[in-house]
């Protein structure tokens, strides 16, 4: 299959589905589901075609010879893993927004999102990467702005502006790279000598840090998360933040290794600050979804710490934690959104005793929560453990402090259980009806199965992940 279909196909398809009219919402939903399933199968096929190390070339398109600018598509293990994760999440997002209002418009925007996000992970041309990177903003802007909660407009505009300003820094960095090397190809930049690597490194780092997000550039995320509808929060946490981490690994660490070595302490310090700051913010929150949002930022801090090790084991751990974070935080967001939908309140104080009224839902919430705090047997444990080991190996024993963050995590998660799941049944919970659509419930169950599955058999994932950084592997294995 021509990979261009995967990128431009959804964009055209979304325009067609948008014209179908509000009555055909169900059809558009089915089309979206089929498309995302197709995407998943295509990415799995790519995985099987990949060489052991390096890139699989998918061809170059739309050449502009005078500018050395062409849509060159190459994938390696890192990008294929991201593609698989994205298409899986898109399927689950579709399932969990089964009963969304204004379905035609909603699902055609989701379809629109699928195109550029594939482009982000497949393109190795810096300028095309940037084009797709920017283009993902448009559907997200509408998804947050139209379907969000009361403060959605503020959140949508803030999200758009923040990430757009960051993108401008990235674009300038790409221009400087092109000026100094004469190429936009990621795979060629690494070998070439850059004249102003420090400036470029900082522009790229800050640009991607906003997307990840790393303290102090994170302030757009709690707003966006809280105001977005629950499935879109999943998309934000599971895909958009991962774009930031992916770009941080690919463009900052792998493309500019020397500068990253010089400034590794910056990444490490900011990662630690993010980890603890967001952790404490989550501890302090009484707003259920904000708590989840801050815990999400805290986990991205953990990923940042892992990236800061710049080592084979650290980056593998970071990638594992990225996937784990996407799978763990998503059910938390979905359940938080569902509880708000049913009880009309975000405050944990208004809830309580949920276990008696909705046992299955509570069980899933507890499972995801325990995974978030790193209970052995879940993905969260493997992620945190490998990151801890990798960072101690690189920076010495004092990085055991990372484990403290896990304790803070235990604090806010268990306290949340106490306030929401257990205890006396509150008036609000008594009044509400917690009936859930079966499809939406199925999505939650799939998340739960994946969390446990990869928690018990992490090697299934690690085999692929390790190939992603095989070129960094020290001689003689780990």
């Amino acid at each position: 299959m021509n990979p261009l279909y995967l990128i431009f196909g959804p964009i055209i398809l979304s325009a067609l589905t948008a014209l179908m009219g509000e009555k055909r919402g169900g059809t558009v939903r089915t089309i979206a589901l089929l498309l995302f399933t197709g995407m998943l199968f295509y990415s799995l096929e790519l995985l099987s075609l990949l060489p052991a190390t390096g890139y699989l070339d998918l061809g170059s398109y739309l050449p502009v010879a005078q500018f050395n600018f062409e849509l060159s598509l190459k994938v390696d293990h890192l990008s294929v893993i991201m593609l698989i994760l994205t298409s899986l999440l898109l399927i689950l997002v579709t399932l969990s927004s089964w009963t969304m209002k204004q379905a035609t418009a909603y699902f055609s925007l989701l379809i629109l999102f699928a195109g550029p996000i594939s482009g982000v992970f497949m393109s190795t041309d810096l300028l095309w990467f940037f084009i797709f990177w920017e283009l993902t903003l448009v559907p997200m802007y509408f998804l947050v702005g139209v379907w969000g909660a009361e403060g959605r407009i503020y959140a949508a505009v803030k999200f758009f502006l923040y990430t757009h300003v960051a993108s401008m820094l990235i674009l300038l960095a790409f221009f400087l790279i092109y000026k100094e090397t004469g190429t936009f190809d990621i795979t060629l930049v690494k070998e070439s000598m850059l004249a102003s690597p420090v400036l470029i490194w900082w522009l790229l780092f800050v640009g991607f840090a906003v997307k990840m997000p790393i303290f102090p550039f994170h302030t757009w995320l709690p707003d966006a998360h809280v105001q977005a509808p629950a499935p879109i929060s999943v998309l934000l946490a599971g895909v958009l933040l991962k774009m930031g981490a992916y770009a941080m690994i690919r463009m900052v660490v792998l493309m500019m290794p020397e500068q990253s070595e010089n400034f590794a302490w910056v990444i490490l310090v900011l990662g630690l600050v993010t980890l603890f700051y967001a952790g404490f913010m989550a501890l302090y929150e009484t707003h259920l979804k904000k708590m989840v949002a801050y815990s999400s930022i805290s986990h991205m801090g953990l990923v940042t710490v892992a990236i800061a090790t710049l080592s084979y084991s650290g980056l593998s751990a970071a990638l594992f934690e990225m996937i784990g974070h996407a799978l763990i935080i998503s059910p938390l967001f979905l359940i938080a959104g569902f509880l708000h939908h049913k009880t009309g309140s975000w405050q944990m104080g208004d809830m309580g005793g949920l276990m008696q009224k909705a046992p299955y839902l509570s069980a899933l919430f507890v499972l995801a929560g325990l995974a978030a705090l790193g209970l052995p047997g879940t993905m969260g444990f493997i992620g945190e453990l490998t990151i801890l080991i990798a960072s101690i190996k690189t920076y010495g024993f004092w990085l055991i402090v990372v484990a403290l963050a896990s304790m803070i995590g235990a604090g806010y998660i268990i306290w949340t259980f106490r306030r929401v799941i257990y205890g006396e049944m509150s008036e609000t919970v008594k009044k509400s009806d917690f009936g859930m659509n079966r499809v939406e419930f199925a999505a939650l169950v799939i998340f739960a199965l994946l969390i446990i599955g990869f928690g018990l058999y992490p090697s299934a994932l690690f085999d692929v992940i390790n190939s992603a950084f095989a070129s960094l592997a020290p001689q003689g294995g780990l």
Partner: protein, 439 residues
């Protein structure tokens, strides 16, 4: 030169006789189509003082495509005729190669623009027209003063600009540029622009800001770029400063406007600042392509948004952000066209506006002006604030009054043409790059 210019000029003359008949619009459209074909075939007999090049040919073709859209949209007989006159003068201006032909064609474009806006129905339109006329008169004065200095310094009017000139003629050329910057709405020569663009009829504004301004920008760059490149120590700081001031002021003023037309008028000033960046980056080989790309993107986007405003004002009497609320639910097609062009202005990728800006900005980086480019990029990010705000009103808010649905078919075709242009040049860049090397 002789080909499309003659055809357009003849059509303009003939159209004078066709007023109040049903033939006017078909004849005008046929003439523009014919001119488009002639330009495509490249059948040009160059007259003395005029010269054709690949970039000019491409831009003339795009100008004629946009003209098609303008004529399809327009319903008033007078405006159609005047559009044809402006088109003929614009073709001449684009191809002019010596100072004499440049000044004559430039004045022709200006004077027909004055005639265009002088079709006054309300006091507001009168204010807009008068402001433009006064600014235009001053600009002409400065332009001629500059030309006189250039002549005194030993320059020749009927030859291409001489590169190695003495102080007096160099000063003369810079003075001429300042006069031209009135037309390009460069700060501090921008005072008239926002009022005029917002107050005169929106379809006239589409011609003034979309068509005339872009043509003047391309022609000015074509004529003056070698001169600017020859005097880098003077031209780079001057152009860079003016560019920064223009884009920053334009964007900040646009942020605080309530009327959509004024927002877009100030955004047009900001875009003039981005174009001026190409003037500053003239020593880079990409500046030529950059300016051409920017002009192509700009002529599509700006004509489209002002024509859309014209539809909005005529059909629904909508002028402010408050009134545009919830339009997406009432009239999907209009809201869609508007949104795409607004996003293009904001520089969202896969639309012409993005690549236009990107190439100009790259030219800046290439010329070593990365700090100026950083300011431009942050400006561009700032501008997203008000563009996204317009889209927010269109899609996120609820409408307060019911609007009748239904479209004028010709106007929708006209919008589709402009949309196709914005999309095409947002994806297929090689056409422009190929032409940009032969400016």
């Amino acid at each position: 030169m002789l080909g499309s210019f003659t055809l357009l000029f003849l059509a303009a003359l003939v159209s004078l006789a066709l007023h109040r008949t049903k033939w006017l619009k078909p004849v005008a459209l046929a003439a523009v189509l014919g001119a488009l074909v002639l330009t495509y075939l490249g059948s040009t007999i160059a007259l003395n003082g005029f010269e054709n090049s690949e970039a000019v040919r491409l831009f003339t073709m795009i100008l004629e495509i946009v003209l098609l859209a303008l004529l399809l949209h327009e319903e008033e007989d007078q405006t159609i005729t005047q559009t044809l006159f402006i088109a003929a003068a614009s073709v001449a201006l684009l191809q002019s190669h010596t100072l004499l032909t440049f000044i004559i064609s430039f004045e022709a474009v200006s004077i027909i623009s004055f005639v265009l806006v002088s079709h006054i129905k309300t006091p507001a339109q009168a204010e807009g027209a008068v402001k433009m006329f006064i600014a235009g008169a001053i600009a002409t004065g400065i332009l001629l003063l500059g030309a006189a200095l250039y002549l005194v310094g030993g320059g020749k009017l009927d030859a291409p600009l001489a590169l190695e000139t003495n102080m007096l003629s160099t000063a003369g050329l810079f003075v001429m540029l300042l006069g031209l910057f009135y037309k390009l709405t460069i700060v501090p020569m921008h005072g008239w622009a926002a009022d005029t663009y917002a107050l005169v009829r929106h379809s006239h504004a589409a011609i003034l800001t979309g068509l005339a301004k872009t043509v003047v920008a391309v022609a000015t760059f074509r004529l003056f770029a070698p001169f600017l490149a020859d005097h880098l120590t003077m031209s780079v700081p001057m152009m860079a400063t003016l560019a920064v001031i223009t884009m920053t002021l334009g964007n900040f003023l646009a942020l605080f406007q309530k009327r959509i037309a004024r927002i877009l008028a100030y955004s047009s000033i900001a875009h003039a600042g981005y174009m001026l960046l190409a003037f500053a980056a003239v020593k880079s080989g990409y500046a030529y392509t950059g300016l051409l790309y920017m002009a192509i993107a700009y002529i599509f986007m700006q004509s489209a948004v002002f024509l859309l405003l014209d539809i909005l004002r005529k059909k629904y009497d909508i002028q402010t952000l408050e009134e545009i609320k919830g339009l997406a639910k009432q009239n999907k097609a209009l809201a869609f066209f508007f949104t795409v062009q607004i996003f293009s202005l904001a520089g969202i990728p896969l639309l012409a506006g993005f690549l236009g800006k990107a190439v100009v900005f790259y030219a800046g980086v290439d010329a070593g002006l990365w700090l100026v480019v950083l300011i431009a990029l942050l400006n561009s990010a700032l501008s997203v604030g008000y563009y996204a705000w317009i889209v927010k009103h269109l899609y996120f808010d609820e409408s307060e009054k019911a609007l009748e649905a239904g479209q004028n078919r010709l106007q929708m075709i006209s919008q589709s043409i402009l949309l196709a242009g914005t999309l095409f040049f947002g994806i297929f860049a090689s056409v422009v790059f190929a032409a940009g090397n032969h400016f």
